[in-house]
């Protein structure tokens, strides 16, 4: 028996439908971003000369005028082909370090994933432990709940100046921003999950005279696990959202920083590529998380 069963299983994978929609989207994107070929009609020789001098147009081999392909790249929103070319170059140089701030995409993904993982895991450990204590002790929970309620809605980025000032290290500040984003949902749901654990389970544990440690890892943790995992899932999302702007603001190398540096270079294709990388990293982390979640869920 595996954990959760998800509705009815469809035997057909909607792969081709997905592909169809992707095709429509790419085509529409392409149509929306191509500029019409240069039309010299109605322009005087002098005007054409100024345009050529400015580098807007070039003379092709057959002696006619066309838009300058180099300038085309920085004009308007790039089309899918430009982005694909950019992605191809970046992926080919994925493991190349060109300079202090110019690391290959594989390194950037690695930095973000490790930054995210450290912050998220530390936050989860703290939140689960504190959550269990609060879930077991109703009085303590009610005493601390007002503080949790005030701290919870604060955007993790709002902490950043204070964290940067106190820890004086941008790398750890970014980790702590992830921590602040991830800690509250898990804390609140763990306390709830432990508190609403069926009392018969604890009664059985009491009759069997389980030590507090055995009670914790044989009964309380597995019993509250599905609720805790739900909290972790919410934390996971908010931490993933926080890591990108944290990197942008702190100038820490990572996929979030990639998006910002490409914007500074006015390389819009690079920005779009960075956005796609952020999405891909999110999917990878999320599927890893779901595997983990499947191990601890149970049916009543």
């Amino acid at each position: 028996m595996t954990g959760i069963t998800m509705g009815s299983k469809s035997t057909q994978h909607p792969f081709f439908i997905s592909l169809f929609f992707l095709g429509i989207f790419l085509f529409a994107w392409h149509l929306a971003t191509i500029s019409p070929p240069f039309d010299p009609a109605g322009k005087t020789e002098e005007e054409l000369l100024v345009l050529e001098f400015n580098g807007d147009i070039v003379r092709t081999n057959d002696g006619r005028y066309a838009w300058n392909p180099e300038k085309e790249k920085v004009k308007g929103v790039p089309g899918p082909i430009t982005v694909f070319e950019k992605a191809w170059t970046e992926l080919n140089e994925a493991f190349v370090i060109k300079g202090t701030n110019d690391h290959g995409i594989a390194f950037l993904v690695g930095y973000t994933v490790s930054r995210f993982s450290v912050g998220f895991m530390a936050a989860s450990a703290v939140a689960i432990l504190v959550g269990i204590v609060l879930g077991m002790n109703r009085m303590l929970f009610r005493a601390l709940n007002p503080f949790i309620q005030i701290l919870k809605p604060i955007s993790p980025l709002a902490w950043m100046p204070l964290l940067l000032y106190t820890v004086k290290d941008p790398t750890w500040t970014a980790v702590l921003v992830v921590f602040m984003a991830a800690v509250w949902p898990t804390l609140a749901t763990t306390a709830f999950g432990v508190n609403s654990l069926r009392k018969e389970y604890l009664q059985v544990a009491a009759i069997l005279q389980l030590s507090w440690f055995k009670r914790l890892y044989k009964v309380i943790l597995p019993g509250a696990a599905p609720t805790i995992v739900n909290g972790l899932r919410i934390s996971f999302g908010s931490a993933l959202v926080a890591v990108v702007p944290a990197e942008m603001l702190l100038g820490e190398l990572g996929v979030g920083y990639l998006s910002w540096i490409e914007w500074n270079n006015l390389d819009i294709a690079g920005v779009i590529f960075a956005i796609l990388v952020v999405g891909t990293v999110g999917v990878l982390l999320d599927s890893g998380f779901n595997k983990l979640a499947g191990l601890v869920t149970y049916r009543e």
């Binding site: 028996m1 069926r198 018969e200 389970y201 009664q203 059985v204 009491a206 009759i207 069997l208 005279q209 389980l210 044989k218 009964v219 597995p222 019993g223 696990a225 601890v296 149970y298 049916r299 009543e300």
Partner: protein
Amino acid sequence: MSFLSIDHLSKYFPSHSGNGTVCIFEDVTVKINKGEFVTVIGHSGCGKSTLLNIIAGLETPTEGGAILNGQEVTGPGLDRMVVFQSFALMPWMTVFENVALAVRSAYPTWSSQKIKAHVQKYITLVSLQGAETKKPAALSGGMKQRVGLARAFSIEPKVLLLDEPFAQIDALTRGVIQEELVQMWNATRNTVFMVTHDVDEAILLSDRIMLMTNGPSARIAEIVDVTIPRPRSRETIIEDEHYYKIRNHIIHFLVRHASHGQADESGDHTERSGPVEIHFRTQQTKPVEAALCGRP
């Protein structure tokens, strides 16, 4: 000195209005011998489950106490295992793990082979062999409670506390499991304290049946001696001359007298200090009627 005695036990809960208390039951005194099967029967809300929980040590009495083997009950312990109405199996553990958790706790010095053999023995006893690796969610209600029984019997407790153990099981399966419980009890002769509102179940299983009046301020009004010889089975028990007399007496009590606290119309027991004891004796020795006697 009796094996398990419940001594002038009273339980009060704070009332909903906030001021004052509500008496659940008061001044309950019962003496249970070693190896005896005693059942408390009464309407919902009469506090019978609270009484069981106090013996289990899961709830504390307001007055009085429970004394097991000369020692007052102060908290839950391995010598008093509960079989819960809701089964209370850990849903994240397999059948084997559920029983093994109990066995490991009761016998911490045992080797893993010995624990495994012991668990297997009790799983076989409730005929669940083959289902060891299943999770409770994959079992029917009857099978779940078989696991509950295996877990309870496996730690060989001094007292087995059955809290409406078959209330959530369909009627047909219930009969089968009741019979299995009879067999297991015959083999072990544990001291059992059961709470139920199923009259037939009580008669089939019990040596004595305590009839509890309705709450609040419930008390044990009568103790019926089940004078039907063992071994009993559902098939043969109904042919016993006393079966319907006992059954009718209890149902009569539950339907008409539970709220007043008295089933017998004949005697005047207003001055009585404890429950009335009822014996249905055999035809040869005495006329067939309820022989009433006060508390010794």
